[in-house]
Structures are given as C-alpha cells and as structure tokens.
Symmetry: C2
Subunit: 268 residues, 2 copies
Amino acid sequence: MSGNSTKEILYIIKTGGNVIDDETSLQNFLHNFSSIEEKKILIHGGGKIATAIGDKLGIQSKYIDGRRITDTETIDLVTMVYGGLVNKKIVATLQSLQCNAIGLSGADANVLPAKKRAVKTIDYGWVGDINKNDINTSPWQLFLNNNMVPVVASLTHDREGHILNTNADTMASVIAVSLSKLYQVKLIYCFEKNGVLTNVADEESALPELNNITYKELKDNKKLFAGILPKIDNAFDALNNGVNCVVIGNSNHLMQLLNEESGTKIIS
Amino acid sequence: MSGNSTKEILYIIKTGGNVIDDETSLQNFLHNFSSIEEKKILIHGGGKIATAIGDKLGIQSKYIDGRRITDTETIDLVTMVYGGLVNKKIVATLQSLQCNAIGLSGADANVLPAKKRAVKTIDYGWVGDINKNDINTSPWQLFLNNNMVPVVASLTHDREGHILNTNADTMASVIAVSLSKLYQVKLIYCFEKNGVLTNVADEESALPELNNITYKELKDNKKLFAGILPKIDNAFDALNNGVNCVVIGNSNHLMQLLNEESGTKIIS
C-alpha cells in the first residue's frame, strides 16, 4: 500500500438500470455525482430502455444463462440506446450541473479495445471481452488531467470496425485495475439494493463488509441472490489487482457509499 | 492573410446523407478520410436511417420549409441515431483504419453549446442555434494536439440538460470559423453532387469557382436548386470570417476536393 498517499483519488462509479430507468432517481444520482470534487468516471449500461425500444422495433431480447445474446440487430440497438440516447442524456445533464462530462464508448479514442468472444458451445454474438493489459491509460489520463469527466457506455470495439457489447460491471472492474497504477482508485458499484444481502427480501440484511472466506461460505450455502455473484467476482478481481477500495450499495446513497458509511465494503 | 503560413492546416469535412446511407460509399469515404495526414475533423448528420427507424417507432418526420421540426420524440430519435448508431459506426470504422477518432456530440466536453431557437411564428422544437463566439476552442485543441480526430454528430446542447438538433452545414461553418484563429482551416462540404450546379440535372454543369456576385445573379435568376442555398450561405459565412478555403463537391471525390481539383471553390 506504500506510495498510495502520493496518488490522487479517482472514483470509478458504475450505476445500474434502476437509476437509468427512473427520471427522478437519475437526476438525484447525477446531482450527487456532479458534487464529487475528486477525479471521477461514470460507467453505465442502458436499463430497460433498450428492451422497450427493441420491442417497438421488433427486436427481441435473447438471453442464455442471463447473458444477452447480441446479434447484429441487437448491437445496433444497444449502440443507439446506450451509446446515444442514455449516454448523451447523462452528459447533457451533467453539463447543466457544471460537471464537464465527456461521453465515450470503448471505440472513442480507443479507450476500450476488446476481443469478440470466441464461439464455443454458445455464440454470444457481438460481445466483447476486455483485458486490463490491452488498455492504454494515456487517453484516460488526458481527459482526467484536463478536468473532463468520462461517462462511459458499456460498449467496446474490436479494432476491426465493430462495436461490441460488454458487461458494465466487468468494464468498471477492468478500468479500475488499469487506472490503479496511476490513481488511488475507489470503485463503487451502485444498484437497487443496499449492498450484498444475506436475505434478498430484507434490505436490512446488507453486510457491512465481505471477505473472500465469508463470500465462499455464503455462496456454498446458497445464501446469495445468483444475479449478484458476477458483480462480487468483479469486485474481488478489482481489489486483488491494485484497486484500493470497492463498495457495493444503493444508488440512492451515493454520498454515503463514497464515505464507506453505507453498502458492503469488499475486503481481502 | 499574413501569418497563415505559420498556422497548421486543419481540414474540416462535412459529409452528407448519401455517404451515411450507403455502406460502400461510407467505407470508401472513411478510407480516404483516414489517409489525410493533416489535422482533421469530420462532421456528419444521420441520413435516411433516422427516418427509417423513426417510421418503425411510429415517429413521423415533420418539416416546415424544409427544416425538421424536433419534438421530444424526434430529439430522442436523432440523439440515438446520429449520436449513437451512426457516430459510433464511423468511429469504430476509423479506428480500424488506424485513425484515432473520438465521437462527440456538442454536449461532450461542452464542445458546442447552443441556444434553443426562440418560438416566433414557428416552434421548431428542440433545435439549437450556435454562435461562433460561444465556442471554447480549448477542448478542440486538446483533442487535435493529442492526435485525436473529432467525429461530430450534428447535435448541440443548451447547457440546461437538453440535447438540441442543429443543422450539420451550419455547425461545420461555425466550427471552421472558431478554429480559424488557431489553424489554417480548409472547409469541405461533401454531398451527392459534383459541386454547385447551374443545371441540377447535369453534373457537368458544376462551377469550378463561385464568388458572391455570380452567386447573387444565379440566385436571382433561379438557376440554383433551392436545397443548396443554405449550404452556399454557410460557405460564404465561413470564407468571410477567417476560413482559408471552402470547397463544395462530391463525397466520392474527397481527395480531389482537398486538392481543389474537383468541386466548386467558394471565392470572395
């Protein structure tokens, strides 16, 4: 941990669909986000809007094991909705709050090159996997050092001219790890629950902290909601690869999450 | 004109719907664009794709005097299509051609603040007018000096959280004027015709040059296709406000337009 005190703090905040889908929640969240004085990055997906617009366009959402299958129609849809509608709405709102946001997909300035997932048993389509070693930190530094706030849609590119759909939680973890060489990174996963719940029906059951041993026990005893497992895995990946602090919690409590007064802190 | 020799060349290229709508034309155009060694900016609208997707979504295009009326449904549509689908497709393609493109709407890094058009007799809706004096050149310089190539969708913002629809020809002219303080700007308007035609049915009738006196005569004699008049007005605005060179011509002849070997050169 030596040397961290000389690095600037960088908050990397991933927000979930519950914020994107609700206008009041989004406005509150962005108001709080804009008030953060330290360097910061926002990562978002597209919530239910993509599904709603896809339905109108006759594009059906396809899933295998909870993962969206991204055919050509679907990558066009998410490029429009995540990269266009949602991203630009967030950027324009942040600009109105005197936060100098810049909207990015992974193709823009090549901030997030990825590899199209190879077809094994399942063809996921236009889905990209990112590797922390492939990320060039210089455009990120350029934006952050010039008082710009990256707002990143969960889209990468294959360097062959194709946009790829990438899981926003994984993206947040990989960006956090890449930038932890340069900054004291605090990674915050915001979603609709108060943290890692031991009883999914009870918001009071959020754990204040979670270490790897407890995680394994809870997982083995099937105490955790299956949907949260990839998020926790991404959180541990970040913590084990140089990120200073990882917290999972409720989007509506952003300021308390930053102060580690709410949510579940992931610890080693 | 003194001092121009010390300024770097900057090409500002606006491309029209004919390129966006045709995959082969787009690929050829971007291949040529990527080969330009000087600093460069690409400005684009959305072609017919916005109308096609709008039709599927049940959003009808509305026009008064050839200007699109931008209601709330329509601004969401063009934000998705221009700012998302078209912009990211162009950026990803340019990245595959080793051109370090960065996609921007006017909200991103506040590159193009605008004013929502006041309602007089017609309510144009979410339409933005830009003024060259409101444009801060520093983010543009930051991108250009760091080897990034801005790819700009024809969207601005009102600094109050709203994206605005802005005419791409006007946008190109205003950006060109703003940056002419810093660069030797060459503005190229690309579209589906060989230049300013004195007979719209005859591509051989393209004028090699057009000055203001001849323009007035041709206009008075109704020799010109009405649709080209705003483009020519924007071209003269640019030339009269510091832009070094303005050429109007065919997207398929980009390299010849840069060399002033094709198209109509606007002269004072």
